[in-house]
């Protein structure tokens, strides 16, 4: 079973601060996605990274896929209260009979004024 560990589990910061969330595994994934989930809603896709070493930017969010495709990071610059939510990394596993998405353990981010 492939596992994705995220750190930190919880993060409470003030508006304007920077932060990084890490997603680590001992397994290689063909690609990796990041989702954000708000209370009472389902996860919503933020980004997909496919190539080892790939970096993608989404406004103040920067996503990186590790060279060996075993880990990823999400960096948020100048966090805002609207960034509050549960961040989930998810790796695509193609080793079985059908491709499936394995989710990470999650990072809860709270940004206060």
């Amino acid at each position: 079973t492939q596992l994705l560990e995220q750190s930190p589990q919880f993060l409470s910061i003030q508006e304007g601060e920077n932060l990084t969330v890490y997603c680590n595994s001992s397994s290689v994934f063909s690609s990796l996605q990041w989702y954000r989930q708000e209370p009472g809603e389902g996860p919503v896709l933020l980004v997909t990274v496919v190539t080892g070493g790939e970096v993608k930017k989404l406004k103040r969010l920067t996503f990186q896929f590790g060279d060996a495709r075993k880990d990823s990071s999400l960096h948020i610059t100048a966090a805002q209260p609207g960034d509050t939510g549960l961040y989930l990394c998810a790796g695509w596993d193609l080793t079985g009979t059908a491709s499936k998405l394995t989710f990470g353990t999650g990072t809860r981010l709270q940004v206060t004024l």
């Binding site: 063909s30 690609s31 990796l32 996605q33 989930q37 009472g40 809603e41 389902g42 996860p43 919503v44 896709l45 997909t48 496919v50 549960l86 989930l88 695509w92 193609l94 079985g96 009979t97 059908a98 491709s99 499936k100 998405l101 394995t102 989710f103 353990t105 999650g106 809860r108």
Partner: protein, 113 residues
């Protein structure tokens, strides 16, 4: 327009009862999923259907029986509910294959008394 809708949003019932959760998507996707999110927010795949055919069954107890009458619908029936079944169940859909974005419903919170 709601892309992936699931009903009911809340389900409170007693141990031993049988219940169903319905899911519909209007995105034209050919693959649908059921996920379970536990109290620690860990999201784990249960089932995946492609064109009404079961392609992933993640060793879920056979008290859980998914049914896909057509590509736009994937329902989940649970027999003999147990305390450990308390969780939020999410339906999702996507185009077939990796790394397609998964579109989630807003979840059904199942509470077993």
């Amino acid at each position: 327009d709601t892309a992936v809708s699931q009903t009911p949003k809340y389900l409170v019932t007693q141990m031993g009862n049988d219940k169903s959760i319905k899911c519909e998507q209007n995105l034209g996707h050919d693959t649908m999923y059921w996920y379970k999110q536990d109290s620690k927010k860990f999201l784990k795949i249960m089932f995946s259907y492609n064109n009404k055919e079961l392609i992933i069954n993640e060793t879920v107890p056979n008290r859980f029986s998914p049914k896909s009458p057509d590509k736009a619908h994937l329902n989940l029936h649970i027999n003999s509910l147990e305390l450990g079944d308390s969780a939020v169940y999410f339906c999702a859909s996507s185009r077939h294959g990796a790394p397609q974005p998964q579109h989630f419903g807003d979840g059904t919170r199942l509470s077993i008394l």
